[in-house]
């Protein structure tokens, strides 16, 4: 292996390996399917390595590789697996889950936090997120799970910051409605 190639591999490995779990988690939320998520991460990392010479040393590798993840999903996977969206946005309200929990509180249910802890399973949260339309689901995943800023998300998904804010607002409201649905089933 030529020296330059070997050192590029080593540098890429050092940067990419720490983000593998986050890339896979996000790919799984994007594709909602384990086999597709693995393929998406492999395609992303192969592409990232192929274009690694374009990555500017010292800049934000995490945002750079997530942008490749997002582009690869949009160009290859979303087109292939497009499904009718399962929810529509009807305006909703802020603090939806809190309001429902407080309004329906009785002696058995107790504090809103306690109820969520006791009744909401890991699988319920995943199912609720997976019901969100693609754009909202991706914004919520990048922000609320992976902790990217508005500016980073705008660069990753290629849209204005105002659009990121609006997708997060709607995505979070829809998520709370879906979580409330799971809590009612569990009650």
């Amino acid at each position: 292996m030529p020296e330059a190639d070997s050192s590029a591999r080593a540098r890429f490995k050092e940067l990419a390996v720490p983000h593998l779990d986050a890339l896979y988690r996000s790919a799984l939320r994007m594709t909602r399917n384990e086999a597709d998520a693995e393929d998406l991460v492999q395609d992303t990392l192969l592409r990232a390595f192929q274009f690694f010479h374009q990555f500017q040393s010292g800049s934000n590798f995490r945002a750079w590789v997530f942008k490749i993840l997002s582009n690869t999903f949009i160009n290859q996977y979303r087109r292939r697996s497009r499904q009718p969206e399962t929810v529509s946005y009807d305006g909703g309200e802020d603090f939806y889950l809190y309001s429902q929990l407080v309004e329906n509180r009785d002696s058995e249910w107790g504090d809103p936090e306690k109820l969520v802890l006791n009744k909401l399973q890991y699988e319920d949260i995943l199912a609720a997120i997976d019901r969100l339309p693609d754009d909202y689901r991706i914004a919520v995943t990048l922000s609320d799970v992976e902790g990217f800023s508005y500016k980073e998300i705008a660069e990753i998904v290629g849209c204005p910051i105002g659009t990121v804010r609006s997708r997060l607002n709607r995505g979070r409201r829809l998520l709370q409605r879906a979580l409330w649905g799971h809590l009612q089933e569990a009650a």
């Binding site: 292996m1 070997s6 591999r9 080593a10 890429f12 490995k13 050092e14 990419a16 390996v17 593998l20 779990d21 890339l23 896979y24 988690r25 799984l28 384990e34 693995e38 991460v41 492999q42 990392l45 192969l46 390595f49 802020d94 603090f95 889950l97 809190y98 809103p112 936090e113 969520v116 802890l117 890991y122 949260i125 995943l126 997120i129 922000s143 609320d144 799970v145 902790g147 800023s149 508005y150 804010r165 997060l168 607002n169 979070r172």
Partner: protein, 81 residues
């Protein structure tokens, strides 16, 4: 410099998303904190929202890549790195 306090709860509600994303300007953060100190209901609501966001994040960040995906990456990049 004088900061005007938030006039009412609806004004605070408009800051919810930026609050959850930790994207409030220092000035707005200070004004919201001031409102949350005097309005118990808003403090309770904002507290629940942040708690829920952190709970969801903590649960979902437990997801790990499968071992064979990690093995594939190591093979692709050479075991020795």
């Amino acid at each position: 410099m004088h900061h005007t306090t938030l006039k009412n709860c609806l004004e605070a509600f408009r800051l919810l998303d930026d609050y959850l994303s930790r994207e409030l300007t220092p000035e707005l953060e200070e004004r919201l904190d001031e409102h949350l100190r005097i309005c118990q209901e808003c403090a309770r609501r904002f507290g629940f929202e942040r708690w829920l966001a952190e709970y969801i994040r903590d649960r979902l960040r437990q997801g790990r890549a499968p071992a064979h995906l990690r093995a594939w990456l190591n093979r692709m990049l050479g075991e020795g790195g």
